[in-house]
């Protein structure tokens, strides 16, 4: 009987254990078989074993051609309060508002006084406190700790005040090349210039990831690569010199603005691009003080503002004429002082008649009547086909944000009239940007080959440097046409004894003075756009300089205000680019 009792007892315990085991197995199976529950479970486990973290990669740096840093990153701090730890909100507010710039006592006090709750554990006071402020707060904390040891609980406390370092964009050269670089706002978004154009590349990809807290899963920590860095074609010292020259020119001539572009016509590389106005990029929030809303001032006039260029356009008309065989350099045109094209009469800049002139004379004296006649000899189809081949009316694709295409009307457009053939021939009724003009004219300097203007020389990504290839964007004229026209323009400058001539260096170029039309009234104002385009040395061009002064007040003429700016720019350039005078260069070359 006793054995039977024991048997049942054992059997009962055994059955219970088996049932429990079966229950556990069934539960495991049910969890395994239920993907939703499994997912929920995994999420719960992840919540305990992982923390969510947003990794913002360091924004790529921007260098000039020689590796000088133009845009980098500096360390700043986010200052905040851990609400459950705050003991003395008043003192925190007092200390932070005294030490950290641009933060008010009331704001800090209201934040530090928040009641902690499951949804409010931390409050941000500022995201961009400088290192110096944090150093001072740290020192204060240290002093308070010593006070606490001495005075006990009565001492004021900064408990709960915390700071976390992160990076902020910094421009060591301040306003230098600001029109090229653009800036980065505090939400890491690039605006204008290279910063906007290459924003995605520079910023990298910020990722919100779950970081395992378990040290055994440390290998799961994701790697977020930094943003790519850029090497520009710009030369820092040349850029500074050109900015100084254009600033002086604007001040001397009383111009509304100035733009100066320096380009290597053989490669399309932009060596300097100086425009006014500029801002200190480290204080980009002052943008509206310099570029008031509604003023339509572009951040970079060289790419963002199209204007009627006037006579600097004439070399393009002459290039098409020579290339199509409409004229030769020796073709003689008898200037009677006016010509009728498409029903309107075109006159010269001085309203005079210049008599018989060869084509060099037409360029030398900048005769509108002659160039309008040349355009009629080319014919509208060839003329506009030629201008399109020079890239006018299209974006150049330069590596900068905010480029505009300008306007080139052509036969077939609703707003094109037969008279436009005449006016367009000397740069009226046509809108171009300085970069477009520089690129187009570079074809004349570079044996008929037009290179794409570029600002970015190399990209450094994933630890490797990749050079951006030079790109030919067209061959609008034949090499012999380019050489002939270069010679004509060099001779016309020499004959004119232009202010653009540089002692020791043979340069070619053309002045331009364009009246500024008033919408609805035509060319009735006395205001002008004064320009100059030139390149050199003529036999082996190393630079092309484009100058534009908007509404100069001391003189309206490009030959008076813009040509000397070209000369000053070239005098500096030849030093920075190590270009010996022509005779020295030839002597050194012949001694080989």
């Amino acid at each position: 009987m006793k054995d039977l009792d024991q048997y049942w007892r054992y059997s009962f315990v055994g059955a219970l254990l088996c049932a429990a085991a079966i229950g556990i197995v069934l539960r495991i199976m049910s969890i395994q078989a239920d993907p939703q529950r499994l997912k929920q479970l995994e999420a719960e486990i992840e919540q305990v074993t992982k923390v969510q973290k947003t990794i913002v990669p360091a924004r790529g740096q921007i260098y000039d051609r020689w590796g000088n840093l133009l845009a980098g990153n500096k360390k700043v701090y986010e200052i905040g309060v851990e609400l459950q730890d705050v003991e003395d909100p008043q003192f925190i507010a007092h200390a932070v508002s005294m030490i950290v710039p641009n933060i008010k006592y009331e704001y800090v006090f209201s934040m530090a006084s928040l009641k902690p709750s499951p949804s409010a554990v931390y409050a941000t006071l500022t995201r961009f406190a400088p290192q110096e402020a944090v150093d001072k707060l740290e020192l204060l904390k240290k002093q308070l700790k010593e006070d606490y040891v001495a005075n006990g609980k009565d001492a004021p406390s900064l408990r709960g005040l915390v700071y976390y370092p992160h990076l902020e964009r910094y421009y060591p050269e301040k306003a230098l090349a600001s029109n090229i670089l653009g800036f980065v706002s505090r939400d890491n978004q690039g605006y204008f210039g290279v910063e906007e154009r290459f924003n995605e590349l520079l910023s990298g990809k910020a990722r919100t990831v779950l970081v395992p807290t378990d040290p055994n899963r440390v290998e799961e920590m994701p790697e977020v690569p930094n943003g790519a860095s850029l090497v520009l074609t710009i030369e820092r010292e040349v850029q500074l010199a050109m900015e100084e020259i254009i600033d002086d020119a604007v001040a001397e001539t009383g111009s509304a603005s100035g733009t100066l572009v320096v380009m290597n016509p053989k490669t399309g590389e932009i060596i300097a691009m100086a425009t006014t106005p500029r801002i200190d990029l480290n204080e980009y929030w002052r943008l509206e003080e310099v570029f008031p809303p509604g003023s339509n001032i572009p951040f970079n006039r060289a790419v963002g503002q199209a204007y009627e260029p006037g006579s600097v356009f004439k070399p393009l008309t002459m290039a098409i004429a020579l290339d199509t065989g409409a004229v030769t350099p020796d073709t003689v045109f008898v200037d009677t002082g006016s010509i009728e094209v498409g029903g309107i009469f075109i006159v010269n800049w001085n309203r005079g008649a210049w008599g018989p002139q060869d084509m060099t004379g037409c360029l030398q004296h900048s005769l509108n009547v002659c160039l309008a006649w040349v355009a009629t000899q080319i014919g509208p189809n060839n003329f506009y086909r030629g201008l399109q081949a020079f890239g006018l009316g299209h974006l150049t694709g330069v590596d900068l944000a905010g480029e505009v295409a300008g306007r080139l009307k052509a036969p077939g457009d609703n707003d094109w009239f037969a008279s436009d053939l005449g006016t367009n021939s000397f740069g009226q009724g046509i809108a171009v940007t300085p970069v477009q003009m520089a690129a187009a004219i570079s074809a004349i300097a570079n044996n008929g080959v037009m290179m794409a203007p570029k600002i970015v020389r190399s990209v450094i990504n994933d630890g490797y440097q990749h050079d951006i290839e030079q790109r030919v964007i067209g061959m609008p004229i034949k090499p012999e046409t380019a050489r002939t026209l270069s010679e004509m323009l060099a001779r016309s400058l020499e004959k004119e004894s232009s202010d653009a001539l540089v002692p020791g260096y043979r340069v070619a170029g053309k002045t331009g003075t364009a009246e500024i039309p008033i919408p609805g009234q035509g060319y009735t104002s006395n205001q002008t756009n004064a320009s100059f385009v030139g390149w050199g040395p003529v036999d082996d061009p190393q630079f092309l300089v484009y100058v534009w002064l908007e509404k100069p007040s001391t003189s309206p003429w490009g030959s008076v205000v813009a040509a000397p700016v070209f000369r000053r720019a070239v005098e500096k350039l030849v030093i920075y680019l190590n270009l010996p005078p022509d005779d020295v260069r030839r002597r050194l070359a012949s001694s080989n």
């Binding site: 990153n73 301040k174 920590m221 440097q465 030093i575």
Partner: protein, 159 residues
């Protein structure tokens, strides 16, 4: 029958001895289990310490990266063109004028080239397979290859 039981009892181990054996066996199991657990704990503790070290080093790396960025920017500020120009002027330097420059031809002079901040990306060269043919070819191919080798050797051996 009684004799048989006597014999069986005589050769049966004493109960205390059997208990001792069981306890010994159990103890041995416990010792082994403790040993395995100890080794496991030791290894996992070391792994955790190394994991913590790696985490700390990752944080340090992040901090150092930030410091490098910050110092690069500060250095650039100190070496900025305006600062350098100001310092040069203070030291009595002035900008060179074109007529002051003398151009010389220096044999072997290499012109300054644009900055190279990182190695240029190399084209990936796929290396030759390192696995011997025996591991990749089929049995028939191997046999055929061996046969042709043998034939070649035999033909070479002929006078």
């Amino acid at each position: 029958m009684e004799q048989l039981e006597y014999l069986a009892k005589s050769y049966t181990q004493a109960p205390w001895r059997r208990q001792l054996q069981l306890i010994g066996l159990f103890s041995l199991f416990l010792v082994l289990a403790a040993l395995v657990a100890g080794i496991y704990l030791n290894v996992s503790a070391k792994t955790a310490i190394i994991g913590r070290d790696i985490q700390a080093k990752q944080r340090m790396l992040e901090s150092l990266d930030r410091d490098i960025e910050d110092r690069t920017a500060r250095l650039a500020s100190i070496l900025s063109v305006a600062e350098m120009e100001g310092r040069a002027r203070k030291l009595g330097f002035e900008q060179v004028q074109p007529e002051q420059i003398v151009y010389l031809k220096l044999p072997g002079y290499i012109e300054r080239s644009s900055v190279i901040l990182a190695p240029y990306a190399q084209k990936t060269v796929v290396s030759a397979p390192m696995i011997p043919a025996e591991y990749t070819e089929s049995l028939f191919t191997w046999l055929r290859r061996q046969a042709s080798f043998t034939m070649l050797r035999l033909s070479e051996a002929k006078p």
